[in-house]
Symmetry: C2
Subunit: 408 residues, 2 copies
């Protein structure tokens, strides 16, 4: 069809750089759901999409969507994309690269029409930061953004519905985000965010399944009291109970093959050096490729913390904030993607994804696949997150070979 | 001299209620150094002080000071008072009662002049919340508020000097806060904030010494990374290191008689459920009546965390934010106070204070003593903090007997 040039790969990386300049928190890269910085990124991407011959709209979940027409009307639609929100103090490639690479692909196609349309989507939300609810953007595409989700509130008490309205959109129109029956395939390009491909000296990976993950929020309720006058044996310290829990999470995950478990958030109240913490909230994120192993280990941790808190006279409430079952990618599409990698002269490596991705949501509705790029040092969710130019070129060449397969 | 009525005690408690209505954080009682709520409390206390025949000024450290004149010019000055700042989500008596009881005492004296003046001081800051520096008010009285302290910054980057200027005061005039040679004694009335007096069924305690306390701030530096894709054995999780530290603090304090140690503050960054924390800061507050035991236990904890972090590949920096040596109260004054309690028909109980107090600062300069009131449930630094009306009356009667002793 068309060759990929170094300039195409450079265009993708430059686009990531330009997007990174728009942030909620100056001095970092931080973009949460429909923040003012998101509006700036929409303006930037809209201009790029239009220059590439696309028509652009924002759906009512805040996803920015560009449509590159097919060579005939009423043709099927190939959906490509990823998310443009970030974790706090993020790198510049997680999610973003999955929008930049498809745009670079259109740049390489250079106006040529294909027998299918290409829709490029910049999902509004995947990380779950603002509303503690991940995949807001892709949930809307599969009709799983309903009244319960819209009623969620952020740290300022703003509901998800209000956040959508504040951005100038109407949550009553969410049906406009749903994937239409003519959308035949979803492909998400993403950095691996882990050390595996680098350890194998391979630039690309084909995802076979996205592993299960559960997230919980735990609240420990003790008794705030004076740190100088309350003897140790009369304390009901919520933080020492939480610390014991964090240590038990680490110990179990370290001794269980394939399990990863993380406490990433902790808040202790009232939060003064001379007061015993009365209330502590913390998160638990636990993942395993096998749903049953994940569930049994989560159950063991939560039973353990309940027993320990009973012994300590501390109340503990546990709320499951989200659970994603393991989700296999489409076998035929993953096979086509592996073949496309081979045709570029590189070795295809099949692997699982330890991280959740928008493809996990779409895969329940339409054939979906993911192409991973090697992540130097396995470093992600960090300002030093990086990706190599030759690896971006390899991803672009693979996508071009896949377009050829889909064309024939 | 004069009898104390129930109405005097009720006046003191009503004053605590009125002061509690002024808060930085609606729905809680929270007043930090020179906040807008502090200005409102100053206005309230100024009106009370003037109605009781006092002249009122605010010194350049933000301490509100009312002077009740003696029966002759150039008489010595008896200093009474405590602090009006609070911890976050505090009760209404910690500190405040030590201002309200002296005002109720003047109310009972009812205009009678004594052979000494009475200065009532409402210290601007004792808890160390805003600048992580306790005793700002009383430091100024003993000349220990200098350039180092004035350069401290709060969470918004405002220096202590600027906070003083923002309140309409001039830190260049701090000498106006120093106690003058004619101030012969300081007495601080305070709730016990612990369970001891209640366990003995006694309303009042006489403090013999304020026990040593040290505060540290620890920063754990690991590597923020993705919670789903980073295997357990490749993590450098700052929070699991901090959790191990918190558990070691609890274990050592529980096994060392008379030692109390508390981690009251913890912050984990970047603070998302799906990111391994890269940086954690936490506080350590450690106290023992014996300076040497306190120091050796603090040293053991800090050596232990350093070794554990080395093993984990986590950096740890430890900063000592404040240290107070054990401070004995004046023996003669404590004896006079005990005698005053006896003369009210109650049993005087001598005890140590596990909490730091402004009297600890003053005691190095002038004879100082503290009178403790029974604290129901030992509960302090908490909205349910309370004190019984008969115990307030007992404290007022004791103070009146002490005034008689000082008069003769």
């Amino acid at each position: 069809m068309t060759a990929i040039s170094v300039a195409d790969a450079k265009y993708a990386l430059a686009l990531c750089d330009r997007i990174a300049a728009h942030t909620d928190v100056p001095g970092t890269i931080t973009r949460t759901f429909l923040s003012p910085a998101t509006r700036d990124v929409h303006a930037l991407l809209t201009a790029e999409m239009r220059a590439l011959g696309m028509t652009v709209r924002t759906d009512s979940a805040g996803n920015l969507r560009g449509l590159y027409p097919a060579d005939a009307p009423e043709a099927p639609v190939l959906l490509l994309g990823s998310h443009i929100d970030t974790v706090p103090n993020a790198g510049r490639y997680d999610g973003i690269l999955g929008v930049a690479v498809p745009l670079a692909l259109l740049r390489a196609i250079n106006g040529k029409r294909l027998p299918f349309a290409i829709e490029i989507i910049a999902f509004s939300e995947e990380e779950g930061i603002r509303f503690k609810l991940p995949f807001i953007g892709s949930r809307a595409l599969i009709g799983e953004l309903g009244p319960d989700e819209l009623a969620r509130t952020d740290a300022d008490g703003i509901t998800l519905a209000q956040a959508i309205r504040n951005f100038g959109l109407d949550p009553a129109n969410l049906a406009d985000a749903a994937i239409t029956p003519d959308t035949f395939t979803f492909l998400e390009v993403h950095i691996e965010q882990g050390p595996l491909l680098e350890s194998l000296s391979l630039p690309l990976g084909i995802v076979e399944a996205i592993v299960a993950q559960s997230r919980f929020e735990l609240t420990f309720s003790g008794q705030a009291n004076h740190a100088g006058t309350t003897p140790m044996d009369l304390r009901r310290d919520a933080l020492t109970a939480a610390a014991a829990f964090i240590s038990s999470v680490e110990a179990l995950a370290c001794s269980t093959r394939g399990l990863v478990a993380t406490v990433g958030v902790i808040h202790a109240l009232p939060g003064a050096p001379n007061i015993i913490p009365g209330t502590v909230t913390c998160s638990l994120d636990i993942r395993h490729a096998d749903d049953a192993i994940r569930d049994s280990n989560a159950g063991q941790l939560l039973a353990q913390v309940t027993a320990d808190c009973l012994r300590r006279g501390i109340g503990v409430t546990i709320r499951e904030t989200s659970t994603q079952r393991s989700m296999p990618m489409d076998v035929a599409l993953a096979g086509a993607l592996a073949e496309a990698v081979s045709r570029t002269g590189r070795q295809p490596h099949r692997m699982n994804s330890g991280a959740g991705h928008d493809a996990m949501m779409l895969a329940g509705k339409i054939p979906s696949a993911m192409l991973f790029l090697r992540t130097p040092g396995g470093l992600s969710h960090h300002p030093d997150e990086s990706v190599a130019l030759p690896d971006v070129q390899a991803a672009l060449e693979t996508c071009m070979r896949l377009l050829e397969t889909l064309t024939h």
